[in-house]
């Protein structure tokens, strides 16, 4: 009886959040006037605009991947393996671009090198050239800002691989007569290749799924990628079969992602690399000697130019009295902040909506994760293994596609209930999108709990309930907490899903900033962006401090 209740609940959850929306998407892609047909795909491939969007997606994806992999690998090697100065500082500082929401980053770079950005103005003033030289709109800008958002992914992956790599691989090459650079070429790079390949695929998939950056830097000049094309298609009610075409395009986007995963699996033949999982026997960092100071300076220039400059440009815009004024103290003001916080009711409404969504969604997803993991490990309900596959699927599905699926699924009332145009549809979409994070962290902490701990509790006389309360829950608590924050942070500043699903009065913070930039409210958008940047960075640092303290206790 109890078992059937649980089973019904699981099926219901999976159906609402995952199976129904994505099933509907695939159906729409393969349907024309109630008949199965491939017409949608044929129509898409016949239109040269679609082909160019497809080409742009691949082009941007590949270039961003190449740039991120090179940048991330070099930075990781310098900071992790050499003796550059301020390594602890750089280890944290170089990750900042990944903490800032991508559309905020795109907006910040607009302030720096956009047509009326500070750099162009300075160049024009010094050289007398009348036209702005640096162009941010179009492929260049999208590639630049996307690469800056994604290189930390490579950095993190490579750094972890370095930490796991047995340093005696390199030392053995040194005593064999190879110098530092020869070791890098013959040993370090080849041994790291699987990690680098894995990171490259993650960057590629992230890049082709990106919405905020190509929306802000591509749409104004008509440079469209698949995600922005889908967005426009969904909104153009005049186009015949627009939902079918958007679905088909979404399926193509999913297929590209899946294909890249298959290619990666083919190239990284596991057995040859299986040996790497050794314990690292404490590195002695590589001495750069004469290059130590130049390398440190280079890292600083990178940090200032890539991390600090766009944020500084946004701050300057945010405190300027009017757009286009010279940068001097008398032109500075805090009235923009005052205006958005006290004169624009929409801002507080958006903050309230986003806070509500992020708190509820992170709590619901964490609880669901605990429930699912419990089912997986401690019950014998049939098909429990499938939960993990279904819940993990949206990770490979771009936000844009999830947005489309949710619209398709809920645009008509179901059993007399309509959630379209309410905050609930946004919540369902967020849950589908972010469910994977607590699933992973809770699973990871559950994995560390040896079955003997559970058995020992039962032997000691605890019944199942008591065991859960005294042993299991305390032990998975860290996983639940980190899962909660992993959802809370991106949900707070989410743009992609919200822009598809919001309605008047239900704007989120992301939607509000985006709409401000579209309406030309640059000063106000800057002020809001500055607040977001500092809140996000502050939260990140606080979490890091908190988790370090906790590790100490354990």
């Amino acid at each position: 009886m109890k078992k059937y209740l649980i089973l019904t609940a699981v099926v219901f959850i999976l159906f609402i959040f995952f199976i129904y929306p994505f099933g509907k998407l695939f159906l729409m892609a393969l349907m024309r006037e109630n008949n199965f047909s491939l017409m949608n795909f044929i129509d898409i491939l016949k239109d040269s605009h679609n082909i160019s969007a497809l080409w742009h997606t691949l082009f941007v994806g590949v270039i961003v991947t190449v740039i991120s992999v090179i940048t991330g690998s070099i930075l990781s090697w310098l900071v992790t393996r050499t003796d550059v100065y301020f390594r602890n500082f750089f280890a944290m500082a170089l990750l900042v671009p990944y903490m800032i929401p991508p559309f905020i980053s795109a907006f910040a770079w607009m302030q720096l090198i956009g047509p009326v950005g500070y750099i162009n103005k300075i160049i024009m003033a010094f050289t007398g050239i009348k036209e702005p030289i640096l162009r941010i709109y179009g492929a260049h800008g999208i590639i630049l800002v996307s690469s800056i958002y994604t290189y930390p992914l490579v950095y993190i992956a490579i750094t972890n691989a370095f930490k796991k790599m047995d340093s005696s691989f390199e030392e053995a090459a040194r005593v064999s007569g190879a110098n530092v650079f020869r070791v890098l070429k013959d040993i370090t790079l080849p041994v790291m290749l699987p990690a680098i390949g894995g990171a490259a695929i993650i960057v590629f998939v992230t890049s082709i799924s990106m919405f905020g950056i190509p929306a802000i830097l591509g749409i104004p000049k008509g440079y469209l990628v698949l995600t922005t094309k889908i967005f426009i298609l969904v909104g153009s009610y005049g186009t015949k079969y627009n939902f079918n075409l958007a679905s088909a395009m979404s399926v193509i986007l999913i297929l590209i992602g899946l294909l890249s995963l298959v290619i990666q699996n083919y190239f990284v033949r596991k057995e040859r690399f299986a040996v790497i999982t050794g314990k690292s026997t404490g590195f002695s960092p590589i001495e750069l000697n004469r290059l130590r100071i130049p390398a440190t300076i280079l890292l600083f220039i990178f940090f200032l130019g890539i991390v600090v400059a766009p944020i500084a440009a946004t701050i300057i815009t945010a405190v300027t009295k009017a757009l286009g004024l010279h940068i001097k103290l008398s032109n500075f003001t805090i009235k923009n902040f005052h205006y958005i916080l006290f004169k624009l009711p929409i801002v507080w409404r958006a903050i309230r909506n986003s806070l509500f969504l992020s708190v509820t969604v992170s709590t619901i997803t964490s609880l669901m994760a605990v429930f699912f993991i419990f089912l997986d490990r401690y019950t014998d309900i049939k098909g429990r293994r499938f939960i993990d596959y279904i819940v993990s699927a949206p990770y490979a599905i771009p936000g844009t596609v999830i947005g489309v699926s949710m619209i398709l699924a809920w645009i008509r009332p179901i059993l007399g209930v309509s959630i379209y145009n309410t905050i609930w549809i946004i919540m369902i979409a967020y849950i589908a999108r972010f469910m994977i994070f607590p699933m992973r962290t809770v699973k990871a902490s559950a994995k560390q709990i040896d079955n003997s701990l559970i058995e020992a509790a039962r032997i000691s006389g605890a019944n199942q309930k008591r065991m859960l309360k005294d042993i299991l829950f305390p032990l998975i608590k860290p996983g639940v907490f980190s899962g909660w924050f992993l959802v809370f942070m991106p949900a707070l500043t989410e743009l992609t899903l919200s822009i598809f699903l919001y309605s008047a009065g239900k704007e989120t913070i992301g939607v509000t900033v985006y709409n401000m930039t579209q309406e030309g409210l640059i000063l106000e958008a800057s002020a809001l962006a500055v607040i977001i940047i500092f809140v996000v960075l502050g939260l990140n640092i606080a979490i890091k401090k908190f988790s370090i303290k906790r590790e100490d206790r354990v």
């Binding site: 005696s168 030392e171 053995a172 040194r174 064999s176 007569g177 190879a178 057995e271 050794g278």
Partner: protein, 356 residues
């Protein structure tokens, strides 16, 4: 080939002293073992010789060549020291096949392809790896990987071979086999070896000389027999083999030294000892469990003790005796009858004196 000379080596990591004023000379062609528990500084000394870490103070010579020094500051990079090294984890590169792994040092030195082939064949033959040249490390057993690492270290004809706990990842049977193989190989190649281990059996069976280390300091240097039979202090005695300790006092010296053990008795035992003792010195008597025998009757140099418990070990029997409120461990032939609670007489076949 060459020896290694270390003069007053000190290595600090921050404020902790890993190696404290260490001096010694490894002779050309010698098999020398650095022995000690983990954290005693043995691996640090090896890594200083290899050049992976700079010395805080002192000098290291390989042959006549100064390779590490604090003053004047010298630190020859590992790739210019011409040393071979075998790591605890073997560090056989997973992305290269066995042939490429072994010949890598020769490729770096741009040895002609034909010579590389000849030397590789020879090395692979010596190490019994023939037929595995084109396999990858992931397909090899631990023992085979270990031999690949050895081959890679030997093919370059190094001046010195450094071995960092090379046998500790092998299972017990293979370890025993490899001990003989390594020893045999060293005899044939005649290379200078510095061997690091925490395993006393390895040290005793393979080395010409052993350096026992604790907390970064030398406790004793000597050949295996010296270190086992005449330990310099309590640490060495208990680290190498099992040992019982009793307190005593030197009561008389007549060419030979007589030691009287203070206990109900008093028991007087005589021992030959070349250390310079004086009448009245307080000493520690070290006796190994298998150097204690059970005797039938009381004599002036026997001790009376009570059997606390015994275990049967197949080839022998181990018992714990109570003597003067102290536990004594003995190992006697398996057919000796010892019942718990029995009062028995024992005598010492061989003892060593340690200054208190």
């Amino acid at each position: 080939m060459a020896g290694v000379t270390i003069k007053n080596l000190t290595k600090k990591f921050g404020s902790t002293i890993a190696v404290d004023d260490f001096s010694m000379k490894v002779e050309d062609g010698e098999f020398l073992t650095l022995l000690g528990p983990s954290g005693c500084g043995k691996t640090t000394i090896l890594r200083c010789i290899a050049g992976f870490i700079p010395v805080t103070e002192g000098k290291i010579y390989i042959g006549e060549k100064l390779v590490s020094s604090s003053n004047p500051k010298v630190s020859v990079a590992p790739e210019y020291r011409n040393i071979g090294m075998v790591f605890q984890s073997y560090a056989v590169w997973p992305h290269m096949n066995i042939y490429d792994n072994i010949t890598y040092p020769l490729k770096i030195k741009r040895v002609p392809e034909r010579e590389i082939k000849e030397r590789a064949e020879k090395t692979i033959g010596i190490l019994k790896l023939t037929g595995l040249e084109h396999r990858y490390p992931g397909e090899l057993s631990g023992g085979q990987q270990q031999r690949v690492a050895l081959g890679r270290a030997l093919i370059m004809r190094p001046d010195v071979l450094l071995l960092d706990e090379p046998l500790s990842n092998l299972d017990a049977k293979l370890r025993e086999e490899m001990r003989f193989e390594l020893k045999d190989l060293q005899k044939r190649v005649g290379i200078t070896i510095v061997y690091v281990t925490h395993d006393q059996i390895e040290a005793i069976t393979m080395s010409k000389r052993i350096v026992v280390l604790s907390h970064g300091k030398i406790q004793q240097i000597g050949d295996p027999i010296e270190v086992y039979d005449k330990p310099a202090n309590k640490f060495v005695a208990s680290f190498i083999g099992k040992a019982n300790f009793l307190n005593g006092e030197v009561v008389d010296i007549i060419k030979r030294i007589k030691v009287k053990i203070k206990l109900e008795g008093p028991v007087i035992i005589e021992v030959e000892e070349d250390k310079n003792f004086h009448k009245g010195d307080r000493v520690i008597i070290m006796v190994r469990p298998h150097d204690i025998e059970v005797v039938k009757e009381k004599k002036p140099d026997t001790i009376e003790a009570k059997v606390k418990s015994s275990i049967y070990m197949g080839d022998r029997k181990a018992s714990i005796l109570m003597f003067n409120n102290k536990e004594l461990v003995i190992e006697v032939p398996a057919d000796t009858t010892l019942k718990d609670g029995d009062r028995i007489f024992i005598s010492f076949k061989k003892i060593a004196l340690i200054r208190e």
